[in-house]
Amino acid sequence: MKSKLSTAVCVIMATAVLLGTSASAADSKIVIDGSTTVGPIAKAFAEYYMSQHPECNITVSESGSGNGAKSLINGVCDVADMSRFMKDKEFKAAVEGGIMPVAHVVAMDGLPIIVHPSNPVRNLTVEQVHDIYAGKITNWNQVGGPDKKIVKISRDTNSGTYETFYKLVMKKDKISGDTEYVGSNGAVRQRVQTTPAAIGYAGLGFVDRTVKALTVNAVQPSRQTVSSGLYPIARPLYMFTNGYPKLGTPLHAFVTLHLTREGQEIIESIGYVPVTNYRTDATSRIPE
């Protein structure tokens, strides 16, 4: 009886010791929160990084850029994913709380404006796209196309894609009520490729030969024009950390992953524009 008890005690103690050591090994824990647009990159990076370093534990939540900033300021997360830069107020709150936000631009995001391949319109200005979605331009003949009512397709308001469009093109003006909303980038493409009078927008990675990407302000959307800033509906995607991470730490490796060839491939594979320019085969996915 007594020996049994002591064995049990031993087992419990051993477990505790084991747990203790494993806890110290899992010290390299990275908590990520923020934008739903940057989220896919963070998730793919986390998956890749954890497959290389199984002892590292990374959690990624997507609660929106604003909440990401809030978490970083409150010290609840290590990395804040943001699809916009920090606002003045957020910066001030961070610095006052002893947090020094440092921005890492991990990728670029561009939104091609797409129409049906049969549509003769080749170019629109940002103002024209704005007026179309605001309901001021309602017929294709007002922008040099056929006499057809424009069918406007938009992403649902949940998406980061919508947010980008809403900020960069609509300048936060209201999108008119007769705009159709669909639930995914693929659905936007599907609707546009089957609707002759449609106009839509989707991530760079979703544009293929079944739809026609318009030039905006006479600039063709492509990797080059997006990363160089020529294409007007594009923006950098950020990860914010508190100060520059200490060199050699997992956090440092994580926020510099986008500078490696593997990081570039991951970013390309989920349809964003990388900031680096290694030669890979994946470039064929993105239209020239």
Binding site: G177, D178, E180, Y181, Q190, R191, T195, A197
Partner: protein, 371 residues
Amino acid sequence: MLNKRASRLRRLVALGGHGVLLTITASSALAVLFIFYFIARDAFPFFQLRGFQEFFLGIEWYPSADNPSFGALPIFVGTGLVTLGAAAVAVPLGVAAAICLSDILPFGVRQFVKPVIEMLAAIPSVAFGFFALVVFAPLMQEHGGRILMITWWCIALPPAGIAVFIAAEVMASRLFNENSQNLGRTICAATLGGVAVTALVFVGLRFNAMEVSSGTNALNVAIILGFMALPTIISVSEDSLQAVGRELREGAYALGATRAETLLRVVIPAALSGLCAAVILGIMRAIGETMVVWMASGNASQIPSPWFNLLEPVRTLTATIAGDMGEADHVTGSARYHVLFAMALALLTIAFICNLVSERVIAKSVKMQRG
């Protein structure tokens, strides 16, 4: 002594059994109450924040704007429009099919056809939605005018024909004396028929010239939802037609009624409340459907102009709840989050009322059938 103990034991077991059964029954009833309670609890903060007027009368739906507005009137109109359209498709088809199944088709055919129709209910709604989006919407965009014209002819020709005959009869008896009545009737029928056909062709051509700019519109989902509601309507109506029983039918035949007279004068009136219940259940199915409308109704929060224009994209309550849930921030308890519960409460209330009405109607029909 032993006997007494055994009987007490039996009573205890019976009591326990009753208790268990009562708990099970009560828990399903409680689940409904809980759903009501929790939805209402999260819906009321919205009305506290924004009041009633904007929600029920406002026409601007911009929940995500910096300066948000929550006018849900277009969404209510969209729900109503889609539901009415679905009812217009499903009710005539469903009731006709049920009559055909119960009284016209031979027994062997019915045994085969009914399971096939019920299979329609087994198709997942996302498959319907996919069909609506990928097949039906492009079809409507390409051949919308022609489809509308053919539908118009199918719907308008039979009533127009009947109306012409009746009107010709009436006119002939007024305008001509008894001797030339036959000739007069022919002349009247020809003139009226000519006028009617011209009108039909004119309207038909107008339909043919119509362009459907967007295939994901209220008509698309109304038709698809109509087909989704069909199995419910057919099943319940067929059951209620069957419940009328042989005696009434045979009685009618014995009195010398033809099959058409038996059906129209005896069977359908006797089963009328059952048919009503079937229609209400079918409509509820259409109101509550989410996936199809989210995929294929266009989700544009506008009141079509004019309001009955089924060719414009609309947004429904269910699709809004499903589509906006992701971003609505429940931590801060914003109006954006609670407005979805307000919508759910509205939907629940509609469903509740429909359910009560159909219960009433079914109860009435049972009473009537018992005499």
